[in-house]
C-alpha cells in the first residue's frame, strides 16, 4: 500500500474519531437548554462532557493538521474555498469553547443563561456546517485547473448540502441524547432517553432522503470499484438497531450502535471519495487526489513514523480519561465542579 493511501486512511480515522467524539459533544450542547430545566441540571449536563470535550475537539484540530501535513493542496483548496463557512464555524467554536469555562465564573442568572445559549448555538452551528461541508465534498464543487474554488459561500448552501447539514444535526443530537442517557443522574437521563427516540425518528427520515438523493446526485455509492455502498448498508443496519435499542431502553447498547452509525457513515463518505479527496465538478481530472495533492514521499514517511508512535499513546490516555470519569454525573449542587 502506498504511503498516500496510508495517509488517506489516517485522515479518515481522524475524521471518524472527530465525528464520533465531538458528535456527542455537539449533541449534548444542542440538548443543554432542552433537557436542562434549571442551573443545577444544566451544570450536570455540561459536566457530563466537561472533562473530555476539549480533548475531543483536538481530533478536529489534528484532522486539520494531518490534512495540512499530508495533503497540503487539499488544505489550501478546502480552507480558502470554504472561507465564509469556516469563519462562521470559528465564531461558533470560539464562543462555545470559552462558554464552558466562563459560565461558572459568575453566579448571576443572566450571565449563565448567556453562555448556555452560546453553548447551544456554538454546538448547533458547527454540526450543521460540517454536514454542509461533507455533503459538498461528496458531490464536489467548482474547482478550477489551478486547484482553486472561486464560487464563494452561496453555491455551497445548495439544498442537497443543507439536507446534509440537517442529517448531521439530527444524528449528533441523537448521539448526544444516547450519551446523556448513560452519563447523567436518572431524572435527566430518563428525559434524554425519551427524547432520543423522537430524534431517532427525525434522523432516520432525514437520512433516508439524504441517502436516496446521494444515490442519484453523487457517485459515492455507485462508483465502479471501491465505493461507499457496503459502509452505507452497515450504517443503515446500525441505525435500525439503534432505534430498536432506544425503544427497549438499553441505553448503553443504544450509544454503541449510534456511534457505529457515525463511524460507518463517515467511512461511506471517504471510501466513496477514494482516491479523490476533493471532487471538481468542472472537470474530473481537476479533482484533488491522494497523488496530486500529497506531500513528498519523505514527509509522508516521517509523518507516518510520528503517527505510528503517538496515535496509540493518545488513544491510551484518552481512553483512560473516559475510564476515570465512567460514573454518572449526579445532580448534587454540593459536589458539582463549576
Amino acid at each position: 500500500m502506498s504511503l498516500n493511501t496510508v495517509w488517506f486512511i489516517l485522515v479518515t480515522i481522524l475524521f471518524i474519531g472527530f465525528f464520533f467524539l465531538e458528535g456527542f459533544d455537539y449533541g449534548v450542547g444542542i440538548l443543554l437548554p432542552i433537557l436542562g430545566k434549571n442551573d443545577v441540571e444544566r451544570r450536570t449536563i455540561i459536566n457530563a462532557i466537561g472533562p473530555v470535550w476539549d480533548g475531543n475537539e483536538v481530533w478536529m484540530v489534528t484532522a486539520g493538521g494531518a490534512l495540512f501535513a499530508s495533503f497540503p493542496n487539499v488544505y489550501a483548496t478546502l480552507f480558502s474555498g470554504f472561507y465564509l463557512a469556516l469563519v462562521l464555524m470559528l465564531v461558533a467554536l470560539i464562543t462555545r469553547g470559552v462558554s464552558f469555562e466562563f459560565r461558572g465564573k459568575r453566579p448571576d442568572k443572566s450571565w449563565r443563561s448567556l453562555w448556555d445559549w452560546a453553548i447551544f448555538t456554538g454546538s448547533l452551528l458547527p454540526a450543521l456546517l460540517w454536514g454542509v461541508a461533507v455533503a459538498n465534498l461528496m458531490r464536489g464543487f467548482a474547482i478550477d485547473q489551478q486547484m482553486n474554488y472561486y464560487g464563494g459561500l452561496l453555491p455551497l448552501l445548495n439544498p442537497y448540502a443543507l439536507l446534509g447539514g440537517l442529517v448531521f444535526v439530527a444524528l449528533f443530537t441523537m448521539h448526544g441524547a444516547n450519551f446523556l442517557a448513560r452519563k447523567v443522574s436518572n431524572s435527566i437521563a430518563e428525559r434524554a432517553k425519551k427524547l432520543a427516540f423522537s430524534v431517532w425518528i427525525a434522523a432516520t427520515a432525514l437520512t433516508v432522503v439524504f441517502v436516496v438523493w446521494t444515490f442519484f446526485a453523487t457517485d459515492i455509492l455507485t462508483k465502479p470499484g471501491l465505493n461507499g455502498l457496503i459502509p452505507a448498508i452497515l450504517a443503515a443496519l446500525a441505525l435500525l438497531t439503534n432505534g430498536w435499542l432506544i425503544r427497549s431502553g438499553k441505553s448503553g447498547w443504544a450509544f454503541i450502535t449510534g456511534s457505529l452509525v457515525i463511524v460507518f457513515a463517515t467511512l461511506m463518505v471517504f471510501v466513496g471519495l477514494y482516491p479523490r479527496i476533493l471532487i471538481s465538478t468542472l472537470e474530473p481530472s481537476w479533482s484533488l487526489t491522494i497523488v496530486n495533492a500529497a506531500s513528498s514521499p519523505y514527509t509522508l514517511k516521517v509523518m507516518s513514523i510520528v503517527a505510528a508512535i503517538f496515535v496509540p499513546i493518545v488513544l491510551i490516555y484518552q481512553g483512560w480519561t473516559y475510564w476515570v470519569f465512567r460514573k454518572r454525573v449526579e445532580s448534587n449542587p454540593e459536589k458539582l465542579t463549576y
Binding site: N47, G50, P51, W53, D54, G55, E57, V58, V61, T62, G64, G65, A66, F68, A69, P72, N73, Y75, A76, F79, S80, G81, Y83, L84, L86, V87, L90, V91, L93, I94, T95, G97, V98, F100, E101, F102, K105, R106, Q146, M147, N148, Y150, G152, S295, S296, Y298, T299, V302, M303, V306, A307, F310, V311, V314, Y317, Q318, T321, V324, F325, T337
Partner: protein, 451 residues
C-alpha cells in the same frame, strides 16, 4: 482595498490576540504545578489553596488561548493558501505534530486536572498538572520549529515549484530554534511571575486582608519566576541578536534603523526615521555600541539597509526588500525597554524582604499592579518586530508574502472576517481579562471547601 493587506491585518491582529494568552499559559502552568508539588510533598494546605487560586486564573486564560489558537491554524489554509501549497510539505508536519504531541496532552490532562480532584490519587493528579505544563510548552516548541523555518529555512529543496523537506532532523535542529524557544519560554515565566506578583501585591496592600502569609508565599515564588524569566529573556535575546546579525542582517539593520554600512557601527538610541528618503532625519547615537552588541568588541562592520537592499536585488531580482523600518525600530526599543524595567522590578521584588525601606514601601507594591502589563507589551512588540522585520518575505528568501495570499478570497470577504474576528476576539480578551481580574482580586477559598 487589497485582500493581501486585509489578510495581513487579520493575521497580525489575531496572532497578537493569541499571544496575549499564550505566555501566561506557558509560565503559569509551571508555577501552578510547582505549588501543587509543594502541597503533595509537604502536605501544607496553603500550597493547595495557592494551587487552586492561581489554577482558576490559569483556566480562564487557557480557554481563551485554545480558541484563539484554532483561528490561527485555520488561517494558513483560509487566507494563505499560496503559502499552504508552497510550504505545506514542510510547515504542515510540525503543525500536525504539535496537535498530536501537545494539544491532546494538554487538553486531556486539563480535563483530568479540573474534574479529577476527588477521583484521582494525589500523585496522579499532580502528574496531570505537570503534563498540562509540559504539553503547553511542547506546543510552543513545535510552533516555533515551524516559525524558525520561516525565519531561517533549513533542510529543504525546491521541487516542481514548491519547497519540500529533505531533512526532518535539520528542521527540528534549526540553529534559530533554541534562541526563539528559550526566549518565548523565559517570557512565559516572566509573564506568570508578574501576574502573580501583581495580584499578590493587590492582596497584600489591602488593610483587611486575612491571608497575608498565603500571598507572601505566592509573592516570593513569583519574584523568583519574574527575575529568572526577565534575566533569561534578556540574555537569550542578546544571543539571538548576534545570531540574526549573521542570518537575517536585514532584520538587525531595520531594528536599528541603520541605513548605511558602518564600521564600527553606532547604536541609535532614538531617531526620526524617513523611510521615503532612506535616512534618519535626526538621531542620538552611542558610538560603536552596535558593533559591541553584535560582536562583543567595539569594532566590526554592520551592514546598512541600503547596501543590503542592493545585495537583495542582485540575489532575488528587482523589488523592495527593506522591511518597515519605523515599526521594527520602535518595536525593538519598546520590547527592550519593557524588559529592562521588568528586570529592575523583579530584582527589587526578590530582595524586598531584606531591605527595610523597600519592604515597607506601599508605593513599590502599587507599582507592581500596572507592571502586570509589561510582559504583554514586551511579547507583543517582540512578535511585531520579528514578523515585520522579515518582510517582504513570509519565508525568508523563499516566498514573499504577496505570493502567499489566497487568490480566491475577495477583499470584501476578508474585510468581513477581519471586522468580525477583531470585535469578537477583542471582546473575548476583554471578558477574559475582566474574569481574571475578578478571580485575582477575590478571596482564596479555605482549604477544606477547596478540597
Amino acid at each position: 482595498m487589497d485582500p493581501l493587506i486585509l489578510s495581513r491585518w487579520q493575521f497580525a491582529i489575531t496572532t497578537i490576540y493569541h499571544f496575549f494568552l499564550v505566555p501566561l499559559t506557558l509560565g503559569l502552568s509551571i508555577l501552578v504545578a510547582i505549588f501543587e508539588s509543594r502541597y503533595v510533598a509537604t502536605g501544607d494546605e496553603a500550597y493547595l489553596r495557592l494551587t487552586k487560586f492561581w489554577g482558576r486564573i490559569f483556566l480562564i486564560n487557557f480557554a481563551a488561548g485554545v480558541v484563539t489558537g484554532i483561528v490561527q491554524e485555520f488561517h494558513f489554509g483560509m487566507n494563505w493558501s499560496g503559502y499552504a501549497r508552497f510550504m505545506g510539505d514542510i510547515f504542515g508536519a510540525p503543525l500536525a505534530i504539535e496537535a498530536l504531541l501537545a494539544f491532546y496532552l494538554e487538553s486531556t490532562f486539563i480535563g483530568l486536572w479540573v474534574f479529577g480532584w476527588d477521583k484521582l490519587p494525589k500523585k496522579v493528579h499532580l502528574a496531570a498538572a505537570w503534563l498540562v505544563a509540559i504539553g503547553s510548552n511542547i506546543s510552543a516548541l513545535w510552533i516555533l520549529i515551524a516559525n524558525s523555518f520561516m525565519q531561517n529555512p533549513v533542510g529543504y529543496a525546491i521541487e516542481n515549484g514548491r519547497a519540500v523537506m529533505t531533512s526532518f532532523l535539520a528542521l527540528i535542529t534549526n540553529p534559530n530554534l533554541p534562541y526563539q524557544f528559550f526566549h518565548v519560554f523565559a517570557a512565559g515565566l516572566c509573564t506568570a511571575g508578574f501576574m502573580v506578583l501583581g495580584f499578590s501585591a493587590w492582596h497584600l496592600l489591602r488593610k483587611q486582608e486575612t491571608d497575608i502569609e498565603l500571598f507572601r508565599k505566592a509573592f516570593r515564588w513569583a519574584a523568583v519566576f519574574a527575575l529568572v524569566g526577565a534575566l533569561a529573556v534578556g540574555l537569550v535575546g542578546d544571543a539571538h541578536g548576534k545570531f540574526l546579525g549573521k542570518t537575517q542582517p536585514m532584520k538587525i539593520a531595520a531594528a536599528e534603523a541603520l541605513w548605511s554600512t558602518q564600521d564600527p557601527a553606532d547604536f541609535v538610541l532614538v531617531a526620526s526615521i524617513d523611510e521615503e528618503n532612506a535616512e534618519n532625519k535626526f538621531e542620538v547615537t552611542i558610538p560603536s555600541a552596535l558593533s559591541f552588541l553584535l560582536y562583543n568588541r567595539f569594532t566590526g562592520p554592520v551592514e546598512g539597509l541600503n547596501d543590503l537592499q542592493e545585495d537583495a536585488v542582485q540575489m532575488y531580482g528587482p523589488g523592495n526588500y527593506i522591511p518597515p523600518v519605523t515599526i521594527s525600530f520602535w518595536s525593538f526599543r519598546i520590547m527592550v525597554g519593557a524588559g529592562l524595567l521588568m528586570l529592575l522590578l523583579a530584582l527589587l521584588a526578590l530582595i524586598k524582604p531584606r531591605i527595610k525601606f523597600l519592604d515597607r514601601s506601599r508605593l513599590f507594591m502599587k507599582l507592581l499592579l500596572p507592571a502586570m502589563v509589561l510582559p504583554y507589551i514586551a511579547s507583543t512588540f517582540g512578535w511585531i518586530l520579528t514578523e515585520s522585520a522579515r518582510q517582504p518575505w513570509i519565508v525568508y528568501g523563499l516566498q514573499k508574502v504577496q505570493d502567499a495570499v489566497s487568490p480566491n478570497v475577495t477583499a470584501g470577504t476578508v474585510l468581513f472576517s477581519l471586522i468580525l474576528f477583531t470585535i469578537l476576539l477583542g471582546g473575548l480578551i476583554g471578558v477574559t481579562g475582566w474574569l481574571m481580574f475578578k478571580s485575582g482580586t477575590s478571596q482564596p477559598q479555605p482549604a477544606r471547601t477547596a478540597e
